[in-house]
């Protein structure tokens, strides 16, 4: 690789480090009190955490007409283009999102991983399904997928995400463990996701006089619909 690589590693090893293979030794840390119990009300916890950071959470299990709830939220955007990815799980969420979006007055465009960030520049809304969600911190997680542009959750000024019930995890440890054990929601090649992102609420900054301002480089609006049922079983 490089001459300095050998010199540095040689120096570090000469000082007694790296002899034993203790790198992965020791028990993994137990989860702290901030991780909710797996049998607690994870939907409520997720919603509370997300709302606390300026996101919007709508539990579709708690509404009489989920389709109307989604339509009503999308209609509030007041028109424009919506980009929906080619996630195969759309067929299992039990909602005809294209149709609902059209009824809400939006122009529907289907996109996939070949769609560039620049092509999404004037899109009013990105619509996606979360690969996982973490109740502890109100976050959704998305891996890089061939069917979803990485910038769909980033470039349009609004992002609406659906979280399938079976992808809502209690805490941070559960997400890392799921990624390591190849959970059904974990994307990637050979069970390894080379890129994934957590999103917790809208894009924010407090760089001017520590005044919190929502919506700098990422979406200023983040809405999460918690689906009543799962998609992976």
């Amino acid at each position: 690789m490089s001459e300095y690589r050998e010199r540095l590693l040689g120096f570090l090893k000469s000082r007694g480090a790296g002899g034993a293979s203790a790198l992965f030794a020791g028990e993994p840390s137990p989860a702290p009190s901030s991780r909710p119990a797996a049998d607690s009300d994870l939907r409520r916890r997720f919603a509370r955490e997300l709302v606390a950071v300026g996101g919007e959470a709508i539990d579709l299990a708690a509404v009489d007409d989920p389709e109307a709830a989604v339509r009503e939220r999308l209609a509030r955007i007041g028109g424009g283009g919506v980009a929906i990815d080619a996630d195969p799980a759309w067929g299992r969420v039990g909602l005809a999102v294209d149709e609902i979006a059209r009824e809400a007055g939006l122009d529907v465009e289907r996109v996939d991983g070949s769609t560039s960030a620049a092509a999404l520049r004037d899109t009013a809304l990105g619509l996606t399904i979360a690969d996982a969600a973490i109740a502890e911190i109100g976050a959704i997680a998305q891996c890089a997928r061939p069917f979803r542009p990485r910038s769909l959750s980033l470039v349009p000024p609004r992002h609406v995400v659906f979280v399938p019930a079976d992808r809502l995890l209690p805490g941070l440890e559960d997400l890392f463990d799921g990624l390591s054990s190849g959970a059904p929601w974990a994307g990637g090649v050979d069970g390894f996701a080379a890129y994934f992102t957590w999103i917790t609420g809208p894009s924010r900054t407090a760089d001017i006089e520590k005044t919190l301002t929502i919506g700098i480089h990422g979406p200023g609006e983040l809405t999460v619909f918690l689906l009543a049922s799962g998609v992976d079983r």
């Binding site: 690789m1 490089s2 300095y4 690589r5 540095l8 590693l9 120096f11 570090l12 090893k13 000082r15 480090a17 790296g18 293979s21 790198l23 992965f24 020791g26 993994p28 840390s29 702290p32 070949s114 769609t115 560039s116 960030a117 620049a118 520049r121 976050a139 890089a144 061939p146 990485r150 910038s151 980033l154 470039v155 440890e173 890392f176 390591s180 990637g188 090649v189 390894f192 996701a193 080379a194 890129y195 992102t197 957590w198 917790t200 809208p202 894009s203 924010r204 900054t205 407090a206 760089d207 001017i208 006089e209 520590k210 005044t211 301002t213 919506g215 700098i216 480089h217 990422g218 979406p219």
Partner: protein
Amino acid sequence: MKIRTHEFRERSTQALDDGFVRGAIARANASFQASRAKAIGSMPDWEELRERGREIKHRALEELPRALEEFERQLLARGGHVHWCEDAVAARDTVLSIVRGVGAKLVTKSKSMVTEEIDLNAALEADGVRVVEGDLGEFIVQLARETPSHIIAPAIHKSRAEIARLLHEHIACPIDATIPEMTRAARAALRGDFLGAEVGISGGNFLVAETGTIVIVENEGNARLSTTVPPIHIAVVGIEKVVPRRRDLAVLLRLLCRSATGQSVSSYVSFISGPRTRAESDGPRELHVVLLDGGRSRIWANPRARASLQCIRCGACLNFCPVYERVGGHAYGWVYPGPIGAVITPHLIGVERAKDLPQASSLCGRCAEVCPVKIPLPDMLLDLRAESVESGGAGFGERLAIALLRRVASSSVLWRCALGCGRPLWRALRALGIAKRLPGPARRWSRARDLPRVETPSFRARWRATGGFREESS
């Protein structure tokens, strides 16, 4: 970044005279402190979490060579490139050669202290490359041709009016814009650059050995833009950032975000373990990790200083430091301000060039109390002071004064005598109104202070009269 650590005395004096900066930093610190308190208040096992964070970083440093090798092995297996750089020059040259190799003329950057350390922007600009800082605070500081003054709040020293003038001048934002309007104007101004950049450069909050992952924590989304849109992503990261396991991040991210901004997690955390895969047509096709030593292996080899490499750059020690709060980040004269800066700067650039920094502490210990990975900062500051004195860093006057104090303070007769003479002398100084203009070496001490009033009766007299501690219970 140009090293101006030797100007600490002048620069801190100037800062003390700057009412705006003092007020702004005091307000920012109060707000940082309140957010952190709120965030950890709901965690009864916060101290336990800190201990685990310390253990993880400690173990990672113990196994540093193996952790770096494993990180490299994993990243190479997924098509990434790893560059090992001894110093700032090597790191700069590595980045320059990658940027030149693709003939890039526009680079977007996300916030990174390490790239400040190697003065990357100046080198790229000298090469004819336009560099755009994406983080709002960094963008403001770049427009002002300044350097960041805080690890996580780069423009904390600038007023809203100053920022409005800068944005007005450079991106035609109305001069009377509100903060949300300024933010929107910056978003609009930077959008085209983000979408057109040929190379994206980032730092990295953590590297994971087990999976060859770069972890980037942010709130704005600029790091995501810089690391997903351009065809080439370069991450410049210090060698001390590597941790063994991905699961370790569950502990470290909880500590980092709460300690930094008081959030339970930041808006975005990205985990990047390679360039785009064959199945994808999105994301960077090349991923380079530039590993910087830059003096870190020297710190690592020093058993009393090694723990300073545990730092996860949350900035909490700044936010709680009474000295930083009064002099601001720029006074420290290099990249890293505050208690952690006072410890690592002398080690990174040489104790000789930064000998005043370890003195810039009251040793109150708050930094060590809030450090999420329990770095014993005050002990390390004392070590550096001792080192400085041993190498002849203390002047004749200082040595004489300390020798006198030792003599006087170890004799009760001399001590009482000194107090007896001192009280009238002190009163006279105050009465004559020359307290602000003490002569000789005392001047530096007195110019920014009001001499305290001499209390009557004296503490010792009251102690005798009341029988000491019994006063409270009587």
